[in-house]
């Protein structure tokens, strides 16, 4: 039993106890959930030390038998890639409790219980190293999110929830077929073992086999990311979910897809990944531009932020499939950045909704005069999101664009258009919402941030600046792990080049600072 097991199972235990609390005592339920989620967060901070000591390798390993036959193991561990995603999850859960404090009044017990179950599923996805276990967590995380959207969402919540569930399930069932196929070939579900077998040629997949397997896995992950044209569930799910649901969806759940591509797809099917890269990059760039263009014309703030996610996640995919150290580092860093800044945007949009009970941009205007602090925070977050230097997203997007330039200048040109467009749609929304005339309704209903709301936003604001300036705290551990992944994915013979440029990008960036 390691610290990691504790971080994983505390939310599950919290979920079960939470279901047993008295139904009507909302304040007890809220206090209980915030206590549990804060405890998980604090315990999870203890994970940082052991991982940073050796970020390139798995630490805090637990590997025991779950089911004898077929050989399914409870194999969890942490490394430089998963560490920060786990911390992001444990940080955002208490924040989600805070932002739901007033908003969730009906059926609060179920709401907070589902939030903890969601945390359990998400952490599980990031730490599982047995493909079967990974699949189990992948599906488990689906159920609470389905309920969060469907019960506490906006008007079209049921449609959105069912669409979300079916999209993800269809993809993951194909992945299940792939997982079973691999097991039948190799006799193991263990990801590290499988990677090793494939690298050493002990598990020989024909190229068409490995192509179809790659597709089966990639399809499941691409739906989750979501990659254009599989993104249509996302605006509905994000737009209709309650604030906490949107935050967890955008900040953590989308990363399940990109994380899984790096963790599963690349090591297991290096050749197929390389062959598919140009097509995937093309789709990613279409997504970047398409997402931005559609975001621009959205009259609804939540849907605008949702489409901006399609655009931002395109950068992550682009970075990964450049197969360069810089690109991968940027992509993984961008996963975290997007988690922080888009999560913050959804929270702020949620604050506006709680005041004005509308998400239509047209219903706002001149919020800056009645709620100056709220506006300030919103503008900072917007600037972070559009990639202003000194704030977090800049680093990620810069690294990705730099890598794209190395591979093909056209990639960089088109992706850069996305950056410009993101400034357009975000700033335009800020202008229409926070400046200009103040309608009477806004004057009467909109007030400035409360202490509880500050408490939820402050950690994210700090992170936006910290991740923009103090890249050294995060990037080296990410790089160390990416070196390993890149070694696996490079064609034989070019491995040396990858190693040579291994540790450099992180330092380059910090020099640039």
């Amino acid at each position: 039993m390691t610290l990691l097991d504790a971080v994983l199972f505390l939310p599950a235990i919290g979920f079960i106890i939470g279901l047993l609390l008295p139904r009507d005592n909302i304040s007890l339920i809220r206090n209980y959930t915030i206590a549990v989620s804060l405890l998980v967060f604090i315990v999870s901070l203890g994970l940082i030390g052991p991982v940073l000591a050796n970020p390139g390798a798995s630490t805090l390993i637990t590997d025991t038998v779950w089911i004898e036959y077929p050989a399914i193991r409870y194999h969890v561990a942490l490394d430089g890639l998963s560490l920060w995603l786990v911390i992001l999850t444990t940080l955002l859960t208490p924040i989600c409790v805070l932002i739901s404090w007033k908003y969730i009044q009906t059926r609060a017990r179920e709401f907070y219980a589902f939030l903890l179950l969601l945390e359990f599923g998400l952490i599980g996805v990031f730490v599982a190293l047995d493909l079967f276990l990974f699949y189990v967590f992948w599906e488990v995380s689906l159920v609470p999110m389905y309920f969060l959207i469907g019960i506490w969402g906006h008007e079209k919540r049921i449609y959105a929830a069912v669409k979300f569930f079916l999209y993800t399930l269809t993809g993951s069932l194909l992945m299940l077929a792939g997982i079973i196929w691999l097991y039948n070939k190799s006799g193991t579900f263990d990801l590290l073992l499988l990677t090793d077998m494939i690298q050493k040629g002990r598990l020989a997949l024909t190229s068409s086999e490995s192509f179809w397997l790659f597709l089966a896995f990639f399809f499941a992950f691409a739906i989750k990311v979501p990659l254009f044209p599989l993104h249509t569930w996302l605006p509905d799910a994000h737009g209709e979910a309650p604030t906490a649901g949107s935050v967890m969806l955008a900040s953590v759940m989308l990363k399940m897809g990109t994380y899984a591509i790096v963790r599963v797809c690349l090591p297991l099917f290096p050749e197929a990944s390389r062959q598919a890269a140009p097509y995937i990059i093309t789709l990613a760039i279409i997504g970047i531009i398409y997402g931005a263009l559609v975001a621009m014309v959205q009259p609804n703030m939540k849907r605008l932020v949702a489409y901006s996610s399609v655009s931002h996640l395109g950068f992550v995919i682009l970075g990964i499939f450049t197969f360069t150290q810089t690109g991968m580092d940027g992509a993984v860093y961008q996963m975290l950045n997007h988690g922080v800044s888009t999560g913050a945007l959804f929270i702020l949009v949620g604050y506006l909704y709680e005041r004005r009970h509308s998400l239509e941009i047209a219903d706002f205007g001149g919020v800056g005069t009645v709620a100056p602090w709220l506006s300030t925070v919103f503008v900072i977050t917007t600037l972070a999101s559009v990639g202003l230097p000194l704030l977090n997203n800049f680093i990620g997007e810069f690294l990705v664009l730099q890598a794209a330039m190395q591979v093909n200048i056209l990639y960089a040109v088109f992706a850069a258009v996305g950056v410009i467009l993101s400034a357009v749609y975000m700033l335009w929304m800020v202008q229409r919402t926070f400046y200009g005339e103040t309608p009477a309704e806004v004057k009467h209903h909109v007030f400035d941030m409360t202490g509880r709301e500050w408490a939820a936003m402050l950690p994210l604001l700090v992170l936006m600046v910290w991740m923009g300036i103090g890249t050294q705290s995060f990037l080296p551990s990410i790089s160390a792990n990416n070196v390993k992944t890149l070694e696996l994915v490079q064609p034989p013979g070019t491995a040396v080049r990858a190693q040579a440029s291994a540790a450099k990008p992180a330092t380059e960036v910090s020099d640039a600072r």
Partner: protein
């Protein structure tokens, strides 16, 4: 063959659970008219105790496995697994029915429980017989009790329709089956499965391969009727919709599992040498059954009808594993049937509760807001529904997993992919019930559910706990099924 017609002690021990149930059921029939109305509730208790005792006896019989009565009956892991499954289903159904009869008729009914007992005896014979005629007798005992059970509330129109349809189409199916058995006897001179197998392997009937094929197809059609495989599934929705809810749950668990047990026994012993000829037939039936079941279920508004189509679809998944015709496939089917029996008995128990007197509330919309009015019942029903979808940590997930794993093992790649896509389609109609339960408000016209009695509570809790147990620790059951599957041949 030794000409000893006096059963030995070992023979009797191997038959003991069925003997006990037959004698017990007959006695119940005799005592029933003699007991006063006030004491009739004891009949349910007697039936439950009989089932429980039969479980114990079948375990004791398994201590000394082997064949008895001149090779007519086999007690092996396979038959023991199914015996326990049938007795268990019977037990849960008895417990789920007590409330139902109190509500519908205001009194208990001894005959009903005796019929359940007889039906279970028939199923047990279907799983343990090693002889076509005995298999047929088992099938008839189980079916005829089933026909009466489906129409048990005699003054209810839907019950009558259900029983009549079930009876007419069911006897049609058994006629096919019997005709096939007659062909086999004509071809091989025996109805004993081992002898038939030797005859096929030995090539003594080589010249009549096409006749053998016709005979197997006839038997297969009979069984396909019983498991409600497309295109022989038409009876299922009407029967399940019309029958009393606990009976619908019983029919879709016990008799269906028994028909599959019989199919496996025949396909994997006598006709195993012909597996190459079987495969295309099974392949097509499996696919058609999944598609028909799932797509028809999408359009249902009545929950019992929807569950009937879902049960057809699940038969399709099981047929995928039958198509694999391997030991892992047989083990997967056994695991699947056990899980499915738990889920379906549980779901129908929940439907029994919500339906209220006269089964008036059986539309899916009648479940609106159940999570607010009856949170615990809704939670349990949600466990069953997630298990039917196949979400991890429920038994339904592992059941599907093992089935499709067996299919991929046997290189049935396309069937697996189509099956998996089918289960994505299936998610939609189960989600509809979840949506209604959790995301719709309680309608103003809703009636409060009569507080459930302890027996049906036990059924619900036990099947939910079983579903979750199989979803987290499937090893024990799967190991047993795996060992039992090796003994079939």
């Amino acid at each position: 063959m030794p000409a000893s017609y006096i059963p030995t002690a070992a023979d009797l021990m191997r038959l003991s659970p069925d003997l006990l149930l037959t004698v017990g059921g007959t006695l119940m029939m005799v005592i029933e008219p003699l007991t006063g109305a006030a004491r009739k509730s004891r009949m349910a208790i007697i039936a439950a105790l009989l089932m429980a005792a039969a479980i114990v006896l079948s375990l004791l019989a398994y201590l000394d496995p082997g064949s008895s009565f001149s090779g007519m009956l086999t007690v092996d892991g396979f038959s023991t697994f199914f015996r326990i499954l049938f007795y268990g289903c019977g037990l849960l159904t008895v417990l789920a029915s007590i409330d139902y009869f109190k509500r519908e008729r205001g009194e208990e009914s001894g005959e009903y429980y005796a019929l359940l007992v007889f039906s279970v005896v028939g199923q047990s014979l279907m799983a343990s017989a090693n002889e076509l005629v005995l298999l047929f007798i088992g099938l008839e005992i189980s079916s005829i009790s089933g026909y009466i059970l489906a129409g048990y509330i005699r003054d209810d129109k839907r019950n009558n329709e259900s029983a009549l349809k079930y009876f007419l189409l069911g006897s049609f199916a058994t006629a096919f089956m019997l005709y096939g058995v007659a062909w086999i006897y004509g071809l091989t001179g025996s109805t004993n499965l081992d002898t038939v197998r030797r005859a096929i392997l030995g090539g003594t009937i080589d010249q009549s391969q096409s006749m053998l094929m016709i005979a197997t197809v006839l038997i297969f059609i009979g069984l396909a009727f019983k498991v409600a495989a497309a295109p022989f599934h038409i009876w299922a929705p009407d029967v399940y919709q019309g029958a009393p809810s606990p009976v619908s749950g019983f029919l879709s668990s016990g008799p269906k599992a028994a028909a599959f047990a019989m199919m496996l026994r025949i396909a994997c012993s006598a006709f195993y040498p012909m597996r190459a000829q079987w495969e295309p037939l099974l392949w097509a039936t499996a696919l058609a059954t999944m598609i028909v079941g799932n797509f028809a279920a999408l359009r249902q508004t009545n929950i019992k009808r929807m569950l009937a189509y879902s049960s057809i679809a699940h038969a399709g998944y099981i047929l995928v594993a039958v198509t694999a015709q391997s030991e892992t496939g047989v083990a997967a089917i056994m695991f699947y049937l056990a899980t499915y029996a738990l889920m379906t008995v549980g779901v129908f128990a929940a439907v029994t509760l919500v339906a209220s007197k006269g089964e008036r509330f059986v539309e899916i919309d009648d479940f609106a807001g159940l999570s607010q009015s009856h949170p615990f019942l809704a939670l349990i029903l949600a466990v069953f529904l997630f298990s039917l979808i196949g979400i991890p940590l429920t038994g339904g997930f592992f059941a599907k997993f093992y089935v499709f794993k067996a299919a991929l093992d046997a290189n049935l790649t396309w069937l697996t992919i189509l099956g998996l896509l089918n289960s994505a389609v299936a998610a939609f109609y189960y989600l509809r019930v979840l949506v209604v339960m959790y995301m719709k408000p309680v309608p103003e016209s809703a009636e409060a559910i009569v507080p459930p009695g302890i027996a049906i509570r036990f059924t619900l809790l036990a099947s939910a706990a079983g579903t979750l147990y199989l979803g987290i620790f499937p090893s024990a059951v799967l190991d047993f099924a795996g060992k039992a599957a090796q003994l079939v041949r």
